[in-house]
Symmetry: C2
Subunit: 139 residues, 2 copies
DNA sequence: CCCAATTTAATTGTGTTCAATTTAATTATA
DNA sequence: TATAATTAAATTGAACACAATTAAATTGGG
């Protein structure tokens, strides 16, 4: 068995496994916020901008409406965001953060440093990893 | 909005997005093999060793029986592997590659170089990324 | 203006992922 | 040696991911 065929030597596998491991490490923090990882990512976008269309969310998160629609509906059920159709273009569904959503941001921000400390990498390693991962993303 | 809170600056998000993007790039190859990504990873392990218990598969892939059991049953349905209980320890379920499974290996191996070329990284970048990802995996 | 093409979400169906629980087999211990 | 603890899979239920399809709204060419 030549080494390039070995599971552990496949970069696609290490990437997939590392991604899941990191998300697993974040789970205690996410549970404290009562959010899943995908819900958390949607909230990160809304904490930045306050409002966002489903299409724009999809472009930021690299997810389609098949994934986002149920996630957004769950966040609406938790009253962390509101959903409404754009008046200018009725095809567009907008999400808008609520007061509860904004309140959650304070607790989430306090955790951010600890969450980022989960990854056992120093500053320069994180920068290097970030640059390499960027090369794997579209554009 | 301080930059460490921005979605695109979060390493956990880049990792998650990059992992899914790479798997998306691999999909045409996987379709040619009529395998999902997870099914492919199980077959990579069996192509190496011929047989493997569910527990060992879980340790290699960082997946539990809740994920692996249905994946393995689907591979059994495709007749790429057989399942049987170990005679020494009836708790242990072993998987063993079939002749069809071995035949698929030849086609898969021919694709491996092209699959690995999907990632737009040169040799040294791949080595660096591999090392950084290893630091994020258990042990 | 009219209708075909495009765009945006939602829906449907398949297949993971993972936590929690259950079942069966094995091992350890009183 | 009974039985308590542990181990290995399977099961269950919730929540993604994603391809393919559908429906509604908008845009663009004749």
């Amino acid at each position: 068995m030549s080494s390039e065929f070995k599971l552990e030597n496949r970069l696609c596998f290490r990437l997939y496994a590392a991604s899941r491991e990191v998300i697993k490490q974040l789970r205690p923090f996410l549970e404290a916020l009562d959010l899943t990882y995908t819900q958390y990512l949607v909230m990160v976008v809304l904490w930045e901008g306050g409002t966002c269309s489903v299409k724009q969310l999809g472009q930021r998160l690299y997810l389609d409406s098949g994934t986002l629609t149920p996630v957004i509906k769950n966040l609406e059920k938790k009253e962390l965001l509101r959903r409404f159709r754009s008046a200018e273009d009725e095809r567009v569904v907008m999400t808008e953060i609520t007061d509860s959503g904004k309140a959650l941001q304070r607790r989430a921000n306090e955790m951010t440093a600890d969450m980022q400390a989960c990854m056992a990498l120093d500053k320069s390693e994180k920068a290097a990893l970030g640059d390499l991962l960027n090369k794997l993303l579209p554009q």
